[in-house]
Symmetry: C2
Subunit: 208 residues, 2 copies
């Protein structure tokens, strides 16, 4: 009996919120999809275990990562408690592991992908928390590059919330609340005219 962590790793891909799942190579539930996770190493803290798992699977660190909820009886059997975390990664920076018997892949969260154990519950809980956090925190900082246009940012919000937002209201809020500020620099956007680049006032997790 011991403690395990699982990590719900989200990214935005093709205008959709996606979650990272791994095809299980071992019994039980071989061949089914499940969240990355595992037992703590001796002496390791919970946060460290979650960060380790995150980095193992995606190669990234220094992103938003937060504890979510602790489950028991999560089907795994080996652990008496499973501490869940959720993380947000910029897909541009991730390099998924690709080994023969270890298949991580991104799955859109809507509709919910079939998963082993009770992982659907964990993912749903993480989604809920993420959506709530959008309103009053800067969480999306780890889904965007250092400098970005407000349109990019808005598209990220829309992907996560699954609904369209009004451009002007969005800009007012996000600038007005001090989540981001204009850098004063412009940059050509594709085939179009230059657009203002913004940055987060803080690139650490913060609550407003």
């Amino acid at each position: 009996m011991a403690v395990a962590v699982v990590v719900v790793i989200f990214t935005v891909r093709q205008e959709r919120l996606n979650v990272l799942l791994i095809e299980r190579a071992a019994e039980p539930c071989r061949g089914e999809w499940a969240l990355p996770g595992g037992l703590l190493l001796p002496g390791e803290t919970l946060d460290a275990a979650a960060r380790r798992k995150l980095e193992d699977e995606t190669g990234v660190s220094d992103v938003f990562l937060e504890q979510l909820y602790t489950f028991d009886r999560l089907g795994e059997g080996r652990a008496e408690a499973v501490v869940s975390y959720f993380a947000l990664v910029d897909i541009g920076r991730t390099r998924l592991r690709r080994e023969s018997e270890w298949r991580p892949a991104w799955h859109p969260v809507r509709p919910p992908p079939p998963t082993a154990f009770d992982n659907g519950r964990v993912i749903h809980y993480a989604e809920e928390r993420l959506r709530n956090k959008l309103a009053y925190t800067n969480v999306v900082y780890s889904l965007l590059p250092e400098r970005f246009t407000l349109t990019q940012m808005q598209q990220t919000y829309e992907a996560i919330l699954g609904e369209r937002l009004d451009k002007r209201n969005f800009r007012r809020r996000v600038v007005g609340l001090g989540i981001v500020r204009p850098t004063g620099r412009f940059e050509k956007q594709g085939a179009h005219r230059p657009a203002m680049l913004y940055e987060f006032t803080s690139r650490e997790p913060m609550v407003l």
Copy 2:
């Protein structure tokens, strides 16, 4: 290495929010105050362990009890993970254990009482969560009798928030949001005229 739970048990007493602490009879930190808690029994779920601890200390069950956060390195040593819960109990229904080497007692949370381990952090976190929940849930149902006056309810809110509220705005909100409804029954209040009794629309934890 195993899993432990601790429970932050709140009540309102003398117009103040209080927390239940136990004077430690054993090393480490003998004689200091700490939150009630302990290891899981074999096969026990986390929720069940928290309920057991709650009932052991206060004699009550069927009250609001919710998981809070999972800590590691909480000083106890024996556990690699400590899952914290918080609960709200009506002081009128509690019967604290009173044994020679086991001293539970209520302590006002403001100013924060000195505690062993990192229990101050846990308590502070629980307070924060409780205060947030007041705004959009019916959590206080387990701090009040079945029928109560709105003044009683308001005093409970004020004790928890540590600030005075406007009577009319309070009543509008709490009735308007459907947290409580009038029962149609009146009752004499002390030396004063009869007052309407209210009840919660639900006595289960609910989010509005």
